[in-house]
Amino acid sequence: MYSFFNMNFIIPDILLLLFPFIVIGSRLFCNYRSQLPWRIANFGFIAIFILLNFIPLASGEGRFFICNWKIDDFGVLMREVLIISAILGIWLSKDYFEHGADGKPQMHQIAEFIGAIAFATFGGVTVVSACDMLTFFLGLEIATIPMYALTAWNKKDQLGSEAATKYILMGSVATAFELFGFSYLYGFAGSLHFGEIQQAVAAGTNPLLWVSVLFLFCGIGFKLTLFPFYTWAPDVYEGAPTPVTAVLSVTSKATAIAFLVVLVFGPLAPVQEQIAPLIALLAGTTLFVGNLGALKQSRLRRFMAYSSIAQAGYIMVALLGPATTAKTAIVYYLFVYAVSNYLAFFIFGIIGHHREETFASLRGLSKQNPSLAVALAISMFSLAGIPPLAGFFGKFHLFFSGASTGHYALVAFAVLNNVLALYYYIQLIKSAWVDEPDGHLSPLRLTRRQRGVIVALSISVVALGFIPFLSNNVFAGFSF
């Protein structure tokens, strides 16, 4: 068994588990206006991120903590994605807790907010490091339940509560599906442990397994907004507060896809061949429907919802590939996607601070603030997958992984859908660059944090793509 001293790889997870309690608890020792929780949060997340980077990668099977907490390369990199998403999320949300245009903050209780985000992040971490179905299920729930709360964070906001209601009702149904799937899988293998399930699956299949696979995919299809389970996403994305939407679109997607990766390349690895058609169909339909839905949108967050549905479809393509390729592609894509998405949401946040978040309020941006318009163009083209921006290389990895097992037709279909995607992203760029503003534009105010973050994100979107060592490191890991 491990001695305590070479168990340091578990430290970040433990810190992450304790971290939300510290943040929320800090509220007891300071007054309402104090910045203490915010400072602790920043410090904590960044510290955890740095600690994660100390974990050496490429250690084969990964290491185990009391035999059902596994930490492998994929896990570490997913942790990094989740932490980055959390950090950006709280930075984005910070402005909403300060005095807005009408002198009152749009949201309250930052400490609890950060705590919720931290819980969700930990849920994601649990999912990627689970070795049995129970941990797996608990992780998923820990990742999901805070999201319900976050969606309804503005108690005064009518749309928020409606969105939350829809979200939690459908979410619970999806949970029921998953549980049903889990129960059959347990019945099939007679054990909760992934290793034994994998042996059982390799030994032979029967309808019980396929029913469970069906239910599991349908349940996770809800969280990953696959066709036809995506219907909640547009409404929830629109109803929730902007920072919550951003966190939803990155963290919960990352958790869900991690769930699928663990499942497909873990217990179900022996039957990946048989479930490939299902995955291909899910991917194709999802990205097609997502692109179609985004064609004629006028509200930014709903637009982003559809675009993220389509992105989920693209990610699914990678699941068809062999384990290493697929995992690399997915992690790399999640990095890129998180960065591009947050860049977009930061800009929307700045726009939405004084105007409502629609295409119309982007008009005249290129005249009013060219650099912001450039940043917007960068993020949109990156999401559309235009080289040399990171988004292209991310998609290229995904398609590469999909094509490596010969699914040329699906890849061709996905690539053709890129044209549709390009169309609606160009629509958005058009309203920012081409359309003349109608009437007076309310001034845009950028705080130093916002400016810094936007510059940093823009640079990384441009650089993440074609700087080769980065793609190497995503593969080989940040090992200092």
Partner: protein, 651 residues
């Protein structure tokens, strides 16, 4: 022959240099300098051409071909190489002399004629560009080089016809000329591609020295039909002739030449009478052995030439614009040359006298027709109109011009001892000896018509009472710069026939022929007298109508109340109108409109439909998103069923 090589270079480089200097540097800033450069350099080029000619004909080397210099221009595959070179044989040397000499004359003439024009520099530049291209054409060693310069003379003619680009008529005339010749050239190019593909070479030496027998067996797929390579060669020869057809303005592609008279007169005199328009004849003469082996293509050439000859002569009899009269007479003379080449064919055999006659006629015609145009130009310069209505009674005012024009007109009418007589007599003789009696008759008739309309012009212009205020008032004078070339040209117009006859009969043969050469020719010493008789008769008729004391000039000039036939002829058989209808209605209004409609409605329509379809699908997706929670929950359940049945899980 190093000396000749340098001279050969000089012949080309001088006009090119003139073009570059005048076009780029001197331009319109200094008209005098431009003119001086043009005249000197063209003089040098003419001088060296004459030197080359003298040296060539005096050398024992004489009738053979020689290549003074040759460069590889663009290699294609193994033997198929485009070269730029200078071929020297009697024909090309003769053309060199003619072109350089006439271009010198015309340059001198233009000093006077273009004196008032703003863009004199441009004029001289383009004129030299033309002579350069024409020289390149006549010394071509292969079809590719021929085509290159063929196009260049075409474009310089376009630029010169449209020289006064603010005159809409001139602009449209230039466009018409270029497009019509271009149309013919497209077939020429096709012919070149076809022949060079079959023969595997562009060189005249290769093409002229081939016989069809080796090609009878192999076949070639022309897309629509598969034919033997021999037939392909015959087709190619006809296509190549089509190029000459258009360039020499044979019927029915003749209409551009009369309209081209919108250009300045010096241009008409050099390009549209003396040199460029004979390029078609020259092409056929150059490739004569090839045509000779190519079945009936010579017969086609003969008939095209013969018909144009008569057709143009008839029209010329009724025109009132003197330049147009001359243009139609040019057409008619080109018809002579063309059919003389065509008439060489008797069954499978060939007589070579026609070839000699035709080239001889090129030579003589160049001088007298050029001088006639220059004369017309100076008349127009005096009365400021082309219309015979405004002329008359110029004999006393312009005596020198009068004499010179008489010489040239006698020359073209084929009255001995003027130059035209000898060449035309040869041609008519050929037609008779080759048993083409119909053509022979037509030729005799046409020579009569020629005399008639030329003297009609002569009498109406110089005799009778002045019909123009300017002439009456007497500010009419002879400009030295314009009269000098006329006088100089009158000399060859008078003598070139007499002196040239021996030269041509000695040296001018089409070269080695694969077809059997027909030697025993019927004797016909009466033909010259017949020709002269008809000419004199026509002259008398012309005198009776237009110059005799009781001639009614007004009635003669009146084009309105005439018989319908006269009107038809006067309106050139309405060919211009036909062309315009075809082009406007059929090409622009028909084909072009249909193809644009196809593009705008079919292609763009399909595009629009697909966009619409995608948008409809998008609407479908968004209508599902009605915000109705039970429906959303339903999708969860339905989703399970969908993937149960379509998920291809082995359930």
């Amino acid at each position: 022959m190093i000396n000749d090589v340098t001279l050969g270079y000089l012949i080309f480089l001088c006009p090119l240099l003139t073009f570059v200097i005048n076009g780029l540097f001197v331009g319109n800033r200094n008209a005098k300098a431009a003119a001086a450069i043009a005249v000197t350099l063209n003089g040098v080029s003419a001088l060296s051409a004459i030197l080359v000619a003298v040296h060539y004909f005096c050398s024992t080397f004489a009738p053979q071909k020689a290549v003074l210099f040759e460069y590889t221009f663009l290699p294609f595959i193994d033997d198929l190489v485009a070269r730029i070179g200078m071929l020297v044989d009697p024909l090309s040397v003769m053309m060199l002399v003619v072109v350089t000499f006439i271009s010198l004359m015309v340059n001198i003439y233009s000093i006077g004629y273009m004196r008032e024009d703003r863009a004199e520099g441009r004029f001289f530049a383009l004129l030299s560009l033309f002579s350069f291209s024409m020289l390149g054409l006549v010394v071509a060693t292969n079809l590719f080089q021929m085509f290159i310069f063929w196009e260049l003379v075409g474009v310089s003619s376009y630029l010169l016809i449209g020289f006064w680009y603010h005159k809409p008529s001139a602009v449209s005339a230039s466009k018409q000329a270029f497009i019509l010749t271009r149309f013919a050239d497209s077939f020429f190019l096709l012919g070149i591609v076809l022949v060079s593909y079959v023969v595997g070479s562009f060189d005249f030496s290769a093409i002229n020295s081939l016989s069809l027998y080796p090609f009878r067996t192999e076949t070639i797929d022309l897309g629509l039909c598969v034919i033997s390579k021999a037939n392909a060669l015959i087709l190619g020869s006809i296509l190549i002739f089509t190029g000459g057809w258009g360039k020499s303005a044979m019927f029915p592609m003749h209409i551009w030449l009369p309209n081209a008279m919108e250009g300045p007169t010096p241009v008409s005199s050099i390009i549209h009478s003396a040199t460029m328009v004979v390029a078609g004849v020259y092409l056929v003469a150059r490739l004569f052995p090839f045509f000779a082996v190519c079945g009936d293509s010579l017969t086609i050439i003969m008939w095209v030439g013969a018909f144009t000859m008569v057709f143009a002569a008839v029209i010329a009899c009724t025109q009132k614009d003197i330049k147009r009269i001359l243009a139609y007479s040019t057409l008619s003379q080109l018809g002579y040359m063309m059919f003389a080449l065509g008439a060489c064919k008797i069954g499978q055999a060939v007589v070579t006298t026609g070839w000699t006659a035709s080239t001889f006629h090129i030579f003589t015609h160049a001088f007298f027709k050029c001088s006639l145009f220059l004369i017309a130009g100076s008349l127009i310069h005096q009365v400021h109109t082309n219309d015979l209505d405004a002329m008359g009674g110029l004999r006393k005012k312009m005596p020198v011009t009068y004499v010179c024009s008489l010489i040239s007109i006698l020359a073209i009418s084929g009255i001995p001892p003027f130059s035209g007589f000898f060449s035309k007599d040869e041609i008519i003789l050929t037609a008779f000896q080759a048993h083409h009696y119909t053509v022979f008759a037509l030729a005799l008739l046409t020579s009569g018509l020629t005399t008639f309309y030329m003297f009609r012009l002569f009498f109406l212009a110089f005799h009778g009472e002045p019909r123009h205020e300017g002439v009456k008032a007497g500010h009419v004078h002879e400009d030295l710069a314009m009269t000098l070339p006329i006088v100089v040209l009158a000399v060859p117009a008078l003598l070139s026939g007499l002196l040239g006859k021996g030269l041509f009969e000695k040296f001018f043969t089409p070269g080695k022929l694969h077809a059997p050469v027909f030697v025993k020719l019927p004797e016909a010493s009466w033909i010259p007298f017949a020709a002269i008789g008809i000419a004199v008769l026509a002259l008398a008729i012309a005198w009776f109508f237009y110059a005799s004391p009781k001639a009614k000039i007004q009635r003669a000039l009146d084009a309105e109340n005439r018989s319908g036939l006269y009107k038809v002829v006067y309106n050139k058989f309405y060919f211009d109108e036909m062309y315009y209808t075809v082009v406007r209605q059929f090409i622009i209004g028909g084909v072009a409109r249909v193809s644009r409609a196809f593009n705008d409605y079919v292609i763009e329509g399909l595009l629009a439909f697909s966009v619409w379809f995608i948008h409809k699908l998008g609407d479908l997706v968004r209508t599902a998103q009605a915000g109705y929670l039970p429906f959303y929950l339903g999708t969860l359940i339905v989703g399970v069923l969908i993937w149960r049945f379509f998920g291809q899980l082995p359930l």
